[in-house]
């Protein structure tokens, strides 16, 4: 039951942020489904491991593949889906608790919480890095086959 609530709110939370970031209607659904997917992968990975960092990393990798594929399918920057769909993953709550510990000068809890926050953010950031790099490699390989810069002689400054 808890998981169902989390999945639904991951969807609506992503939808909210997509609206906040001015995503237009036809892409709203795709962006929010990405949030659902990301949290779904996170929950599924719970069966395999109890390492939070690994779960976040896996969710982020799957999410990025989803975003890169969609970016090509609907012709728009992958960022649009990456930013909105990673909303359930981003360590906002953890970041807040870190600063809360800092405010109450509970330094022991602060250092533990700060470490968690940074580790999770690193896991998500690195998870986004790999698929993006692979997609870029594929694109470059394709461009190399095409002729180099056609129409250069028509440029207005020459």
């Amino acid at each position: 039951m808890d998981m169902l609530i989390q999945l639904v709110t991951a969807f609506t939370g992503s939808l909210g942020f997509a609206l906040l970031f001015h995503v237009r209607k036809e892409k709203l659904l795709l962006a929010s489904l990405g949030g659902l997917l990301a949290w779904g992968v996170y929950l599924l990975m719970g069966l395999a491991t109890d390492q939070e960092v690994v779960r976040y990393f896996a969710a982020s990798v799957v999410l990025t593949v989803y975003a890169e594929f969609l970016a090509r399918a609907v012709k728009c920057p992958a960022t649009l889906f990456l930013v909105t769909a990673s909303i359930p993953l981003i360590p906002g709550g953890s970041l807040y608790r870190t600063m809360e510990c800092f405010m109450t000068s509970d330094l022991e809890a602060f250092s533990a919480q700060a470490l968690t926050t940074v580790l999770l953010a690193v896991a998500i950031a690195v998870g986004m890095l790999f698929p993006t790099a692979i997609f870029q490699l594929v694109r470059r390989a394709r461009i190399k086959k095409a002729p180099e810069m056609p129409g250069q002689e028509r440029s207005p400054l020459s």
């Binding site: 939370g13 909210g16 609206l19 906040l20 920057p77 930013v83 981003i90 807040y96 809360e100 800092f102």
Partner: protein
């Protein structure tokens, strides 16, 4: 030489005049290109995307070489071609807020300009069209604040009552946010006030039995205010080689998070 219209200039001088004229035109093109780059950055485009777009645009407009350096607060571009020599422009960038629709439009625009070699007027018109595109109205934004707040109150394990309280507080925060934004106050001050009011209202809601757990009510509002996306993106920037931009955004998000925690601590102290 005899039949040349400007026979009172030597060929060398003519050459120089032409270069100056060309450089003037290059400057105008570069200015428009920087407009596009600036706007992309302000709509939340990644530094690497902005650099790449500017470089491509410069090359498609006839530069033989383009060196672009972008950080979140500034763009520096030098283009070079034998015809006009080296031309440099810089741009100071202030304020950025995610606008993924405009970012998408700008991305498309820069691709089309590269492929079709647009004129200055065409580029200006297209930019203006993107600038004046309609955004979601205030009503939708209010709904959004409520939706995000109650979603995350539930997500982190709050009760339905907590979610409802968090949604209402979210709407109030949006009104406060708009009022502060009109005064063009400091971004940190705005977050501090929102956090403080959010904390006060959450405490009040629990006292009036309109919510079960002030922490759960607040976490929904905190997700609206806390720079979680910025923190993650700052690390992404650093990992992809844009260390300065990444560090700037990292420090900014830490400071913002501290401000928000301070705001809630202040509210707890007042209650």
């Amino acid at each position: 030489m005899e039949d040349h219209p400007y026979h009172f200039f030597s060929p060398d001088e003519l050459d120089q005049l032409e270069r100056i004229e060309e450089a003037g035109r290059a400057n105008e093109y570069l200015y428009r290109i920087l407009d596009i780059g600036q706007y992309m950055l302000q709509c939340g485009g990644e530094v690497s995307r902005v650099e790449d777009s500017i470089r491509r645009l410069c090359l498609s407009f006839g530069a033989e070489r383009a060196d672009v350096f972008t950080i979140t607060s500034s763009i520096v571009v030098t283009i070079y071609a034998r015809r006009f020599g080296a031309v440099t422009q810089t741009r100071r960038i202030t304020g950025s807020a995610y606008d993924l629709y405009r970012l998408e439009q700008l991305n498309q625009l820069s691709r089309r300009i590269c492929a079709e070699h647009w004129s200055l007027e065409q580029t200006e018109e297209a930019l203006e069209a993107i600038r004046s595109a309609r955004q979601y109205g205030f009503g939708v934004q209010l709904f959004t604040y409520a939706l995000v707040s109650s979603s995350f109150a539930l997500f982190f394990g709050g009760s339905l009552l907590d979610a409802a309280a968090s949604g209402v507080i979210g709407v109030v925060l949006k009104f406060l946010d708009r009022a502060i934004r009109r005064t063009e106050a400091n971004a940190f001050l705005s977050s501090l006030l929102c956090a403080c009011l959010g904390g006060l209202l959450a405490g009040l809601a629990v006292k009036l039995r309109l919510g079960d757990d002030a922490g759960m009510i607040s976490i929904g509002n905190i997700m609206l205010l806390i720079p979680g996306v910025a923190l993650t993106n700052s690390l992404r920037d650093m990992f992809s080689g844009n260390t300065i931009s990444g560090l700037m955004r990292f420090i900014e998000s830490i400071l913002l998070a501290l401000t928000i925690a301070f705001g809630f601590a202040l509210a707890a102290g007042l209650l």
